[in-house]
Amino acid sequence: MSQIQARFFTEDKRYVVDDVPFSIPAASEVQELSNVINKLLEAKNASHSKVEFDFLVRGQFLRTSLSAHMETESILTEEVVEIEYVERITAPEPEECMMHDDWISSADADAEWILTGSYDKTARIWSTEGKPVMTVPGHTDVVKDVAWVKREGLTSLLLTASLDQTVLLWEWNSERNKVEARHCCRGHAGSVDTISVDPTGTKVRLERARQKLKRQQRTPLMTLSGHSEAVSSVLWCDSEEVCSASWDHTIRIWDVDTGGMKTTLTGSKVFNCISYSPLCRRLASGSTDRHIRLWDPRTKDGSLVLLSLTSHTGWVTAVKWAPSHEHQLVSGSLDNLIKLWDTRSCKAPLYDLAAHEDKVFCVDWTESGLMLSGGADNKLYTYRYSAQQAEA
């Protein structure tokens, strides 16, 4: 039985062990390594309770035995191997289920409230505990996307976009529980499929099913046109840049001040959705060939797929990065599954959540440890996940 020299380290200050190399049997798996760490911690601190750990070698999660992993990654076994360990993320538990009257097309979560848009031409506001608070009618056609704009104390602004080519701005008073329409943004020649609010809360990007993107602040400020087919998803990268993904197989990044296109990332299949994480500066896109691809929006040249996550068996309709964790993202797909991924373990998702019975159309996170997903079975599920310590 061969042995490998390993040194353990962690970012988590609660579970630090001595920084000396240990001699570990080569065929040990995650469970055995976890036992080793636990014993070391118990030796240090008598009141330590057993914790499950997950191990990363060179940024990749350890899933097989240590020797097999090192062989596939071609790491030399003669030197001391640095193994990082983190507390294992437990599976998200489904908490609440909110029934709607029709398919849920989109959801946007705030710290306390959840806003959902549905195919029954209304938008609804729910509390995070699952109680319906408010129904926002007013559109003449299916509501395709919703977004919070601002929250100041008791009043907040929200937007709903619909197939009737309008975007309505509402003001909602949470105390009095009243909502009134403030403004109607017209200007699109086709159905508005997604909207996105910029980080400062002042401007809004809309995008239509017919190729143009409009920047609005009450009235259209600017039209960015460049896609040759329907734009399926749009978001603000930061206050200067806008990113859009379209059915013409490209993701384009636009400069808001000039209105010009900065970079184009070309893929081979239709993009359904994108999400940007300021923590790791990566763009994740879901497309109709069932893969989730990670891109670096800073690259100057055409297309560079950094990572490709494959596990879904249907179109990936929604991806969202975790707001507090730079490696995690959640994706929803037409095969009724929600998958939680860690980019360091790229061959398989961390967890599969099979709560839905029909196609999943939208997913979202809240800051306080909740994940949301809504789909064609009229249900919006919330899941409690163990919030990791925010990585520095």
Partner: protein, 624 residues
């Protein structure tokens, strides 16, 4: 007997002529002269002697003594014998048996029992010395070794070097006639009975062609060689053989060693021909009867379907949501979306009516322009003759709310509607074997209909407009006719080798047509090539119900009753030299066979490499 010491002559061995003139010859011991015998014989006496003396012939004059000796008989005999060359001694037998010195009999004792010398076994020492001397001489340069002449080339002269190569080739190619096989038992004059012909064999032999016969003769049996008659066919046989030898042209058959797999054209692998639809992505559920026809809007966002349950449904492509449903009150045979992207209209064929629907599924501008197109109508226009059977009317009331705008009433059941590429003209098909009023072409903006054909050419199955030029394709049961609408005449007639054509599609480039038929075949016609199909594809097991081309990608699909949709890659080359490359690329399954019917209609998305198929299981499936 002559003794050595003959005292008659004491002079010795000297020529007697020295004493010719003297009377004496020599002296005796006393010193006295020895006188010659008196010879008184002169020539005359000699001559007389010769004549008369009977013993003259055996008288010998001894020169040494001077006397005449008469030979005795023995002496005469001896002389004769010597003259003949025989041995002088009579008793000598020259033929005595040889006494072998070394006989062939093996004796007990060898002649010599000396053991063999070592030098008889080892290389010769003397030769070695001689050779070493020669070698030394060569090394020292005293002796030059004899250079071996390379006369290989010079010794032989190539007789045929300057010969004509064609003659040489002919010589090389000469195949001599095969040798006649050696005679066997059949040729025997008394063969075993099994080699003789029985009656049947004889009859068979007589019946056969002389070239086919195994034996050129009939084996006969004779009891003895004497009775064998002359072979009647001898000269003929020899003549044939001579012809065979010098007159029969024989040619070497050049066998080409070709791997049969090299002859099969190399088709590209399907994974090189991406993109094409591979998996089922969405299922559009909602209909309750079999879905006969589907059509995608030119923008690619909406899908319209018509079914036997009397409804037309509009679906959102990306989410499979049924946005709208219109009850039209009859089994819908065909739906067709207006290809003009600036209007949003759907033509629906049900029973004997064609409805024009305006679903409000688009931009307001587009909807307005659709309304404008529909309501444009020249005032005071007389309907043309021959048109009385087709009635245009506007919808009102409930139907208007649902979206129906115009109704075109036909005399018979309509099976298919199809739009022209510009979106103004519409063709409808009413199959009827007997009449010539099977096809109507309507103009939407002027609300006019006309029947272009004056003669009945067969049961019309489906029609199609050319995407670019003013041609009109009419598919009857066994052929496709192409009419020039401007010149008002038929330009081409394509003969499909199928019994019953079911559906037809025209390539967006306009030069190729595919048609599927109920006998499981799909024919691709290249209009520039010929009126016969360029390729016939027999991929399906059952009847082909629908065929479609993609507008942008080089793909075409066929839907069949066996529940599968087969997508093929078909690149058409711009240069007229290369034939289209057709590679079947994917079999898409997913539909459930219901009542022996499978997939009824297939159509491609206008911009993405996706294919929609509708089936008898009341679902529409999207494959991407």
């Amino acid at each position: 007997v002559i003794s050595l010491h003959d005292i008659r002559n004491t002079v010795g061995n000297i020529p007697v002529e020295w004493y010719k003139d003297f009377p004496h010859i020599g002296y005796n011991l006393d010193g006295k002269k020895i006188y010659k015998p008196i010879r008184n014989k002169d020539e005359l006496d000699d001559f007389l002697d010769k004549m008369e003396n009977p013993e003259y012939w055996r008288t010998v004059h001894d020169k040494q003594t001077g006397s005449d000796i008469v030979l005795s008989d023995d002496q005469v005999e001896l002389v004769n014998r010597l003259q003949r060359g025989q041995f002088g001694d009579v008793n000598f037998n020259e033929y005595e048996p040889m006494v072998e010195f070394f006989s062939s009999d093996v004796m007990i004792h060898p002649i010599t029992n000396r053991p063999a010398d070592k030098r008889s076994f080892i290389p010769s020492l003397t030769e070695k010395e001689k050779v070493s001397k020669l070698v030394h001489a060569i090394k020292m340069g005293w002796l030059k070794p004899r250079r071996v002449e390379d006369d290989g080339r010079g010794r032989y002269y190539d007789l045929w070097a300057s010969e004509d190569s064609s003659i040489l080739a002919r010589h090389r190619m000469h195949l001599p006639a095969p040798k006649i096989p050696l005679p066997g038992h059949h040729e025997s004059y008394n063969p075993p009975p099994e080699y003789l012909f029985t009656d049947e064999e004889r009859a068979l032999w007589e019946q056969q062609d002389p070239g086919d016969r195994k034996l050129p003769f009939v084996p006969r049996k004779y009891s003895s060689l004497r009775q064998v008659p002359a072979f009647s066919h001898f000269i003929h046989e020899r003549f044939e053989r001579c012809l065979d030898l010098y007159l029969c042209p024989r040619q070497r058959k050049m066998r080409v060693n070709v791997n049969p797999e090299d002859l099969i054209p190399q088709l590209p692998k399907p994974k090189d021909l991406q993109p094409f639809p591979t998996t089922q992505s969405l299922v559009y559920r909602g209909h309750s009867g079999l879905v006969r026809s589907i059509s995608v809007s030119p923008s690619g966002q909406w899908l319209a379907s018509g079914s036997d349950d009397g409804s037309v449904r509009f679906w959102e492509v990306c989410s499979s949501r049924c946005m709208k449903m219109v009850q039209v009150g009859g089994a819908v045979k065909s739906v067709a979306w207006n290809p003009n992207p600036s209007v949003c209209l759907l033509a629906v064929a049900l029973d004997s009516v064609v409805l024009i629907l305006s679903p409000s599924l688009a931009d307001k501008q587009v909807i307005l322009s659709s309304e404008r197109l529909l309501s444009a109508q020249q005032e005071g226009e007389e309907p043309a003759e021959g048109n009385g059977s087709v009635v245009w009317s506007e919808a009102e009331g409930e139907e208007l709310n649902q979206g129906v705008r115009l109704k075109i009433q036909h005399p018979k059941a309509v099976h298919q509607v199809v739009w022209h590429a510009k979106g103004d003209y519409l063709a409808s098909v009413m199959p009827d074997n007997t009449s010539h009023l099977q096809v109507y072409i309507h103009q939407l903006s002027r609300r006019r209909s006309q029947n272009p054909f004056s003669r009945n050419k067969g049961l019309v199955q489906c029609v199609s407009f050319h995407p670019i030029r003013p041609y009109f394709f009419v598919a009857t049961q066994r052929s496709i006719r192409i009419y020039n609408l401007v010149k008002q005449e038929m330009t081409k007639k394509l003969q499909a080798n199928s019994k019953w054509i079911s559906s037809m599609a025209v390539h967006p480039g306009g030069d190729h047509v595919i048609c599927g038929s109920y006998d499981c075949k799909l024919s691709w016609f290249d209009l520039d090539l010929s009126t016969k199909p360029y390729k016939m594809l027999r991929h399906h097991k059952k009847a082909v119900r629908g065929v479609a081309y993609h507008r942008l990608y080089p793909l075409f699909a066929s839907a069949s009753d066996d529940g599968s949709v087969i997508v093929c890659h078909g690149t058409v080359y711009n240069d007229l030299l290369q034939n289209p490359l057709i590679v079947p690329v994917k079999v898409l399954r997913g539909h459930v066979m219901t009542h022996d019917l499978g997939v009824l209609d297939v159509t491609f998305h206008p911009t993405q490499p996706w294919v929609f198929s509708s089936g008898a299981d009341a679902t529409i499936r999207l494959f991407t």
